[in-house]
Symmetry: C2
């Protein structure tokens, strides 16, 4: 018997992505989001939902570009910080001790210290409610050599964060469970 | 120095959600997706991206409803299976030994055995490319009592799956890292 919890934005796992943008003065900004994920394979696209009240919202509307920066679990403080203050009055890169790197592909900065970066050109936006969903076409994926194994991303080396919405907690990724498109074939 | 991997649909973590729908004959179907996530807090909404070629795509277009069923890691075989075959010719509920339960709120079935269910009414769709993004307003969240702790979801008891896109692997959620909107305040 299932218990009704009411209508809530609850689903697991949620990601921890740090969105890089430029403001109207070309000042780099970052903002942490959990309402996001890949939304298309061809072309590869990322969906990122942001409230209109945020500084990043205006930035993306203006530049039509953003980066998706994936921190390692060892960078949880920097990632969390970027989700707790507004970039309107603060240089969050500087405050968090992070380096903005100008993308050569899209009009947005990425975080030099974070191991995995997606450079996105905003192609669509959809007002859903409090949040507006921005679709960004992924123009390139850039990874630190340290997280690669034979050219592919080693999840253990990347060690991305997992966000649990209701209790607002961060976790690491854990034990390997099985191969996709394979482990279910026995049924 | 970062290495360019080219434009790819790669981001971590990705979820493992099993989408429940009814077909034109009211036959229940399930399909596993990873390109999905919460996309709005008010009203609470879920974005799910699905290829037009799938059986579920036609079902959602017709019924304007779907459920998002979150399996436990112990149900990885059932979840994986539902992503490897089409519901056009097979009753995937029956083949996977799962029970379709008719939602009383939306026109879609949910998976009786999976511990967490979101009942969604489709409010928007957006053709992104190969995938179409469906937005579903979450009308209710239902959870097994066994995963609740004082009325809230205990992530360890739910034990959701994490999908790693590039290497196509499933993982569990691991070690607790810190409290969100808190651990970064020291910066």
């Amino acid at each position: 018997m299932k218990k009704s919890l009411g209508p809530k934005p609850i689903a697991y796992p949620a990601p921890v992505f740090v969105i890089g943008t430029y403001d109207f003065e070309d000042k780099p900004n970052i903002m942490t989001v959990a309402w996001a994920g890949i939304c298309c394979s061809r072309p590869p696209c990322m969906a990122v939902s942001i409230r209109e009240a945020t500084y990043s919202y205006g930035n993306i509307n203006r530049t039509k570009a953003f980066t998706v920066n994936i921190p390692s679990s060892s960078q949880v403080k920097e990632a969390d910080y970027a989700g707790t203050v507004s970039g309107k009055n603060i240089d969050k890169f500087e405050a968090a001790g992070l380096t903005p790197v100008r993308s050569e592909i899209v009009n947005a900065p990425y975080v030099g210290e974070f191991p995995l970066v997606l450079e996105c050109e905003c192609t669509h936006s959809l007002i859903v409610g409090l949040h507006t969903l921005f679709v960004g076409e992924i123009k390139d994926v850039k990874a630190d050599e340290s997280i690669l194994d034979q050219g592919k991303i080693d999840l253990a080396k990347l060690s991305p964060l997992v966000f649990a919405p209701e209790l607002r907690q961060y976790f690491e990724v854990g034990r390997f469970v099985g191969k996709a498109f394979s482990i279910g074939k026995s049924l």
